[in-house]
Amino acid sequence: MPLETKSQEKARSDKLRSVQEGRLKLYDAGAKNVKAFLDLISQRITRPLALSFVSCVHCGMCAESCHYALARPDDPTMTPAYKAEQIRRIFKRHMDWTGRIMPCWVHARYPRDVEDLNLLKNIVFGTCSTCGRCTLNCPMGVDTAGLVRFARGLLTELGIVPEGLFNVCRDQWETGNQMAVTELDYLETLEWIREELQAELGLSGIDIPVDKPDCDFMYTINPREIKFDPRSIGHAAKIFHFAKERWTLPKWGWDQTNFGLFSGDDSLGAYVAKNVYEAAAKLKAKRIVISECGHGYRSTRWEGYNWALYDQKLTTESVILTLIRYLKQGRIRIDSSKNPEPVTFHDSCNISRAGDLVEEPRWVLRRVCSDFREMQPNRTENFCCTGGGGLLSMAEYRPLRLEAAKIKAEQLKATGAKLVCTICHNCVDGLTDLIKHYKLNIKVVQVLELVSNALLV
């Protein structure tokens, strides 16, 4: 795929604030991009990444852990080690002794020009969803997903990024949320959901509070919930109401998703995460609760504090843990027979392999569904929905993504389930896309929806 820069040129001509302030990086054809790339490697590399660069023994054990490599067994360029090697060879030529003295001995090579960097872009953005399955399957402990994200970050700094990803990053820098939802749209949508809920349940007291101070928790959401799936906020509000929860959404800092994770741009990651942390501090919330979103959870619970250099003070938890608390404390009552269809669970990569929630969603599902069945493999060994790593925003890589989705489709089909549940909005879209493509008779749902269905009111 050639480097497309139309959106970047528009951002430059529109004199966007993030461009003027140097936060959103644009491609400059006249710049010494290769030199800048090499300088960035030296500046940004960390100890764990350096170890991942030097530790690979090219054993090839990662090949069968990757859904791309499994879907294309005759294409060796899909092997995770090969993908990582494209950045590793630059590291070796630039920084490693053997690579500097005898480059041909270890395949060390500098990128020759921007074309080489564009090729690297296509590999690290287009052929890897950074699901981390190869990382957990590497006997040496090489974090290939981490290396891919590192390479993405260097390219993003030079504006050598897929257009779709650039657009989302631009929106997140400019508006504080990845879908450019305005404050008016946000508040009006919440008002509409509130009215719908009141009409549905016949309860006038049900509320979706905004900027209410001193609550038990501040709820953060995925902009997709405002723009495309407001029902999920409705489900959450309904459950919180019956649990007699004191909660609030913030007016600013409500987007827990973070394209800094996908673009590799830690500064965007820090900016978005800090918005959330500061909103919670301002509202004096006792904890931050993250709605069902895989990369949002990972970014807000784990990476964001480190990117923002912000020591965690507040408990930051997934809404799944909030639901467990309600169930254990008897604050909500449920009837699993209200969810009679066979349900399977898809573990989001960013939660199971990079976070800590594996048994928790299952604990809830076993209580709210009458027929829960595992897909194989599962938990930390589950396959990606294929929409991870920001790939849903990169239309140019869709054909390959859907080809690789064959692995997930087979996994889903084998369960015989009618519903596939996930705790990630990104996975909802990724799974929906592949279900449509492979013509599977399965519907994607989320835990909040199933709990809301099963609720005894």
Partner: protein, 229 residues
Amino acid sequence: MSNFLRILENEIQVALLIFMGTVYLLRLFWIFRFKPNRERTAPAGSEKAGIAYSLMNVAMPWAMESARKKPGFYIQFVIFHLGVAAAISATFIIPYRPELLQVKPVLRIFQLIIGAAFFVGLMRLYRRVAKPTMRLISTLDDYLSLIFMILYFASGVLAIPNRYQEAEWPLILFFGLTAFFLLYVPFSKISHYLYYPIARFFLGKTLGHRGVLPMKRKKEEIFLEPQEK
């Protein structure tokens, strides 16, 4: 024993060991100059447990899908590395405790392990050459390190009976290759054993902190403690 062989088994090995150790120290110094990550989040698991699990991973083939699904490959890995350990041990036993290898069963066990490693080495070389995936990711260093290891195992099988009265060449070949390795290893992929524990330490630390490692597997009613998550 000729003077040449005596010097090769002793002074040359010691000098090259010091060289290798010095290069390794410099390598470690270089690695530790890269900035560390500082964790600012509250833990969901134990870093110590994660590190221990990650380091023990090598002895838990069931813990990784890649090893679990290919038990044959894992067995090859074990044999190959046992062969390496036996060959390295032999380089110390032959000059400093030669009587050990005069015990027939000990000698045979060493020869068996090193011989098996030789065959595994050949299988690995075949795999690296025959599989397109392996060819694409392999460097000259990968091929030559493996070829030298295969030669080393072969020479080891012949040298460890330590019958220098009959013929010195197997010992000269074995200790010559040992000398070569002591020079070559710090600059080759074989130095992975230096990085391995450190790389796994950091992976285990991060994933242990997050509660990903040790793997939670099929323990439905493990206690879920929302307050601290």
